[in-house]
């Protein structure tokens, strides 16, 4: 949580956002049938589907306003003016560039890419191994410079995959080669491992961490994924190269 004074300054903005959000709920709810007929039934206001959202939206608006009032009362209008100035100053850029925020961007990018890009398209086991490998090596080395380099390497690979899927290259490549996207993901994973190794190869403690990280990143998804796939019989979101291989082993499909 932020410090008290910073918190009050942030409260002004969060209060405004919450007020606007409440107003949006009320606006959306006002489009719902209040007294008109729906599904052949004539409505009355107290049975209307809008009743509860109107109440909730109204309360959110009211509480948002109260929050803004409380925060402004505590910090004063002058301090609020200073935060407005800060929003358009160089300090904001420095703040956004801070190491702690870079860590946040890295974690958020990893999760967003995994959920919206890799899991729906690439073999679950490969996606999970890639995610864990990148995540663990980025943070386990515990060095700002390494984190930055590894994050940008991963970002470049992810941008490549976004273009690859957005330009529909996958469509015709998959027709020519089976498991094309999985093979590409595997190549990306190996490239990441090699790049990380090149960065840390001169430091014995980091080499030890690299080995541990790699083992965990490969073993954990295979273990967890196999439990869900073969014991709980949960089909994976995308099944490709690794699932085909595991199926062959599990069902003796040789």
């Amino acid at each position: 949580m932020l410090e008290k004074e910073k918190l009050r300054k942030a409260d002004v903005y969060s209060g405004i956002i919450i007020f606007l959000f409440g107003a949006w709920i009320v606006w959306q709810a006002s489009k719902m049938p209040m007294k008109d007929s729906w599904g052949g039934v004539q409505n009355v206001w107290f049975v209307s589907p809008a009743l509860f959202p109107l109440f909730v939206g109204g309360m959110i608006m009211l509480l948002g306003l109260l929050l803004v009032r409380t925060a402004l009362k505590t910090i004063g209008l002058k301090a609020f003016g200073n935060t407005l100035q800060w929003l358009f100053s160089k300090e904001l850029f420095q703040f956004l560039n801070s190491m702690s925020n870079l860590r946040f961007y890295a974690i958020a990018t990893l999760f967003l890419a995994l959920v919206y890009l890799y899991i729906p398209r690439i073999d679950f086991f490969l996606s999970a191994i890639l995610f864990l490998n990148v995540f663990i090596l980025m943070f386990y080395f515990d060095e700002a410079e390494l984190l930055k380099k590894l994050f940008f390497f991963y970002l470049a690979g992810t941008v490549f995959f976004i273009i690859y899927f957005a330009a529909r290259i996958d469509g015709w490549l998959s027709q020519a080669f089976p498991f094309a996207k999985d093979i590409l993901a595997l190549v990306f994973l190996l490239a990441y491992c090699v790049y990380a190794w090149r960065l840390i190869r001169h430091s014995p403690p980091l080499r030890r961490k690299y080995r541990t990280g790699l083992i965990v990143a490969f073993v954990a998804p295979l273990l967890v994924g196999s439990i869900f796939k073969y014991f709980l019989l949960v089909p994976m979101p995308a099944e490709g190269l690794v699932v085909a291989l595991l199926d062959a082993i599990w069902y003796f499909e040789f």
Partner: protein, 521 residues
């Protein structure tokens, strides 16, 4: 006669569950897993229950409950390991334990402290289980008299009180979080007219927002981001020798144990407030009533006992409103509610009719879980403590994968993932800005109950709110809600202080007058 019959049924269930070696194996392994979740700083029993819910999907209801309750009990107790040995509370519930547990470990009495917390936690859970069994029929009978107005007010009260008591900053933020949860519950087709609300033509939203992915996202993702963003490091673990249960100390402290258990059960049964508040209140009470308050914070054994009994007694306490009213008493109980719904059990006043033996079953599981926790704690503590050496950078990403596969596996729906992640990231920002997460989650859970009952009540009364004031229970709930809101405003506090001043001044004036008055005769 009926009581004897109930006791007989209860012990029959205990023996029935204990007779199956598979159940014992599940109990022991779940308790162990729970202890690990509780012990690792950054992981909580709520997250443990959330992640394991996906694994229990294919199990039958009693086995799933066995698994989840054992994790809950183990997780609540496990937090004390990190508190005592590294001075970092494994869970918020054991933060108060660290105050005196760590000084004890520094004095070389870590084994003694762990032994006592193990026994105290087991006793706390058992006492709370007794309350669950004895109070539940009464609450259930009382709740059957409730009509839609009472249920709406009860749900509303649950959200408000949870927002009031769990907010780390301004109370308004707790309420905002609760209402945001209520909004999330509005998404989907409404239950009375099937009208699509806030679905934007997305068919996946028609059935509403799934509770379990929201819970996993709201509790799991902010935890992962916080721990890794702030470069959380686990300190060096204090060494300890033998672990002794010290029954003599326990017997000497029976009144304190009973008091702490009552605090735990009481706080646990208030909607949305968890084990952490129970532990702090119990710590404060123990200090205030102690003959040696100056020893607190320096390694006082009664302090450790009070906090651990209270936080584990909270488990059974949280089950009372959960099972009888369908209102979760704590964040892990909210998670359990999601799991119960997945298994086709809808907690509430009708549970005694739909599943007559369910509450007894839960109580039997709680007893067995507390005994398993004691056994695991006494025998395997030294091995469990080894998990504290695992760096957070290694296990947090794995928790991330578990959050993802757990959300997906419930319903085998990738949409759950698309929902879980934004909820998690928004929750992270909310936590950073001092908004509590528990009211949000409780809002999502209680939203449909509040919505449906409000409209149903108004339908019966033809749009009139008068029954709120004419029905005694409604009126009491309404007044409590008004007082909860009004008491948070400075104007009310000023008015109260003025009133108190006037009353006390008049009393002291009268006392002065009486003492100055010449004696008669």
């Amino acid at each position: 006669m009926m009581i004897l019959e109930r006791i007989g049924t209860y012990f029959q269930m205990v023996f029935h569950l204990a007779a199956d070696p598979l159940n014992i194996l599940i109990l022991l392994s779940s308790v162990m897993l729970g202890i690990m979740f509780g012990a690792m700083p950054g992981l909580t029993s709520t997250l443990g229950v959330a992640l394991l819910t996906a694994l229990t999907y294919g199990m039958d209801t009693p086995t799933a409950m066995l698994c989840l309750l054992a994790i809950y009990v183990g997780g609540t107790y496990g937090g004390s390991y990190a508190s005592i040995l590294i001075n970092i509370p494994g869970t918020a519930a054991s933060a108060a334990t660290a105050l005196d547990g760590y000084p004890l470990a520094c004095k070389g009495e870590g084994g003694r402290a762990i032994g006592l917390t193990t026994t105290a936690s087991a006793i706390g859970t058992i006492i709370s289980m007794l309350f669950l069994v004895s109070i539940s029929p009464l609450i259930s009978f009382f709740a059957l008299q409730f009509t839609s107005f009472e249920f709406f007010l009860l749900a509303f009260f649950g959200i408000l009180i949870s927002g009031t008591l769990t907010s780390p900053d301004l109370v308004i933020k707790g309420w905002i979080a609760g209402f945001l949860g209520l909004f999330m519950a509005c998404v989907g087709r409404d239950l009375l007219q099937f009208y699509p609300r806030f679905t934007f033509g997305i068919p996946e939203l028609d059935s509403g927002i799934e509770v379990v992915p929201v819970l996993i996202g709201a509790f799991g993702i902010p935890q992962i981001i916080q721990v890794l963003k702030d470069r959380f490091q686990i300190g060096e673990t204090q060494k300890f020798q033998r672990i002794l249960p010290e029954f003599g100390t326990i017997v000497r402290n029976i009144p304190r144990i009973i008091r702490s258990a009552l605090i735990g059960v009481g706080i646990g049964s208030v909607p949305g407030i968890g084990e952490d508040i129970a532990a702090w209140v119990s710590y404060g009470t123990a200090k205030n009533t102690s003959k040696h308050p100056e020893r607190f914070g320096k390694g006082e054994i009664t302090a450790v006992l009070s906090t651990e009994v209270a936080n584990n007694a909270c488990v059974g306490g949280a089950m009372i409103p959960l099972l009888n009213l369908g209102i979760p008493g704590s964040p892990p109980a909210a998670m359990l509610l999601g799991a119960l719904m997945l298994h086709g059990v809808t907690p509430g006043p009708m549970i005694t009719f739909e599943h007559p033996t369910f509450i007894m079953e839960v109580a039997a599981i709680l007893l067995l879980a507390s005994l398993s926790m004691w056994v695991v704690g006494m025998l395997l503590a030294k091995q469990v403590v080894k998990v504290l050496r695992i760096p957070v950078q290694l296990f947090m990403p794995i928790i991330g994968i578990l959050c993802i596969i757990g959300s997906y596996a419930l319903g085998i729906n990738i949409w759950n993932l698309y929902l879980m992640l934004p909820v998690g990231i928004i929750s992270y920002f909310l936590v950073e800005m001092g908004y509590p997460i528990a009211p949000l989650v409780i809002g999502v859970i209680l939203g449909p109950m509040a919505d449906e009952n409000l409209r149903r009540a108004l339908m019966v009364s033809q749009g009139s709110f008068l029954p709120v004031f004419t029905r005694p229970v409604s009126l009491v709930l309404f007044l409590v809600i008004v007082w909860t809101v009004v008491s948070q405003f400075p104007a009310y506090r000023q008015f109260k202080n003025k009133l108190m001043d006037k009353v006390f001044r008049r009393k002291s004036c009268e006392a002065d007058f009486d003492s100055d008055a010449p004696e008669e005769g």
